[in-house]
């Protein structure tokens, strides 16, 4: 069954109160769409890029009731991570995985989601891999110059933070002002510190969807910072965000024999 059919079926039976998918938008791009009636479900497609899991923690969406979500791998990972962090319950969401032929599979339980994910190879997109490798191959000074140039363009709009499914804090650290730990204005230090904090707050939690980089209105490849933090966690501790609905967060756990090379 295709997404539109499935959406209509779910809405008509009352199984879910809304189906989150995509619809065609400006310049042929896809944008998130909420179908709450069979009529709206007519326009749903599944091949957008934004991570729809960022909507399931919002008050307006929670108030709707159970929602179905068109779920590619990063969305599934995000939903599992949100369950692990107790932001949503298994019964609140119904992920709909869509295969190459456009056929929908309901993944009603965390276990089904985990099993489905295990079948999909996940790697960051080749263009990002290439840029990461290029950055890692630069000298430290070259990387500093690169990030200073990029971050000088940041306008602190928080499109990156707000698109991220894992940035769901009601009062983000940027919103707290007693004390103002990270500067709000978009001067050089404020930009550096904000992105540093965001990357660290996502280390071990980032599901590598790349939404933050896509969202940036000035085209800063900001997703590479969170990718770096996530890869660092995976390489050094073996833990991976969004692999399971049971929390396995690298920065709140430890092993007495964690190995490092730099502590004297």
């Amino acid at each position: 069954m295709e997404l539109r059919e499935k959406a209509k079926q779910l809405l008509e039976s009352g199984d879910v109160k809304a189906v989150l998918g995509f619809e065609p938008g400006t310049h042929g791009a896809r944008r998130p769409a909420f179908a709450r009636s069979a009529a709206r479900a007519e326009r749903l497609v599944h091949d957008g890029e934004q991570n729809l899991a960022s909507y399931v923690t919002r008050k307006e969406v929670k108030r709707m009731g159970r929602v179905a979500v068109a779920a590619k791998a990063p969305v599934l990972r995000a939903l599992l991570q949100l369950m692990a962090e107790r932001q949503i319950k298994e019964q609140d969401v119904l992920p709909l995985a869509v295969d190459a032929a456009g056929q929908v599979k309901e993944l009603a339980t965390a276990q089904e989601m985990e099993e489905h994910l295990a079948l999909e190879a996940q790697a960051i997109p080749p263009a990002d891999r290439e840029l990461m490798d290029r950055l890692n191959g630069m000298t430290r000074q070259e990387r500093w110059a690169f990030w200073q140039k990029e971050l000088s363009r940041c306008i602190k709009c928080y499109a990156c933070r707000n698109s991220c499914p894992m940035c769901y804090c009601d009062h983000c650290t940027m919103d707290c002002n007693r004390p103002q730990w990270v500067p709000v204005p978009s001067h050089a230090l404020g930009n550096l510190e904000y992105h540093m904090v965001r990357a660290m707050h996502l280390a071990g939690r980032c599901v590598e969807c790349g939404d933050c980089g896509r969202a940036c209105p000035v085209g800063i490849p900001i997703h590479l910072l969170t990718f770096n933090a996530e890869e660092s966690v995976h390489a050094q501790f073996g833990q991976k965000a969004g692999a399971s609905s049971k929390l396995d967060y690298a920065l709140s756990t430890f092993r007495p024999d964690d190995k490092e090379t730099f502590i004297r």
Binding site: R140, A188, M196, L225, R264
Partner: protein, 145 residues
């Protein structure tokens, strides 16, 4: 006549091990270079990674972070959490182009007065050779019209 550069080193140390160890250095009358400003925290586990970034922003040329050896933390596991945090943050800082050579992490126990002196002397000499962390100081002043 310009004065020769003397680095500012900020040290974040835990109360129970390294701070006590540094105290022992003093009571043992071991001399060491005086460029270090020691900030005492209850445990390395309490060290927010941003404290390091803010030390640089405030003009530190070098940073020392030091606490109890693994398995000896006064709060049992604070230093294990700190270690994990540093392993990630250090990579991130390096990826962003921050000079991680200017940051030294160590385990110094309450009995290691000599080690503290040796550590501070080595770090101070090495940072003096590197010069001031000008890039970061420029950053801290930049971007405001």
């Amino acid at each position: 006549m310009t004065e020769p550069f003397e680095p500012k080193i900020t040290a974040f140390v835990c109360n129970w091990c390294t701070y006590a160890g540094a105290d022992l250095t003093g009571t043992s009358r071991i001399k060491y270079q005086s460029n270090v400003r020691v900030l005492r925290l209850p445990c390395t586990g309490r060290i927010d990674f941003m404290l390091l970034a803010k030390a640089f922003a405030r003009g530190a040329d070098g940073i020392i972070i030091s606490g109890c050896h693994p398995n000896d933390c006064h709060y049992t596991s604070g230093n294990y959490h700190a270690r994990r945090r540093w392993m990630i943050y250090r990579n991130l800082m390096d990826f962003m182009g921050i000079d991680t050579q200017r940051i030294t992490f160590s385990w110094v126990s309450a009995a290691e007065g000599a080690k503290w002196a040796e550590l501070v002397n080595e770090v101070t000499t090495s940072i003096r050779a590197m010069g001031p962390y000008a890039e970061y100081k420029e950053l801290a002043a930049a971007g405001v019209e």
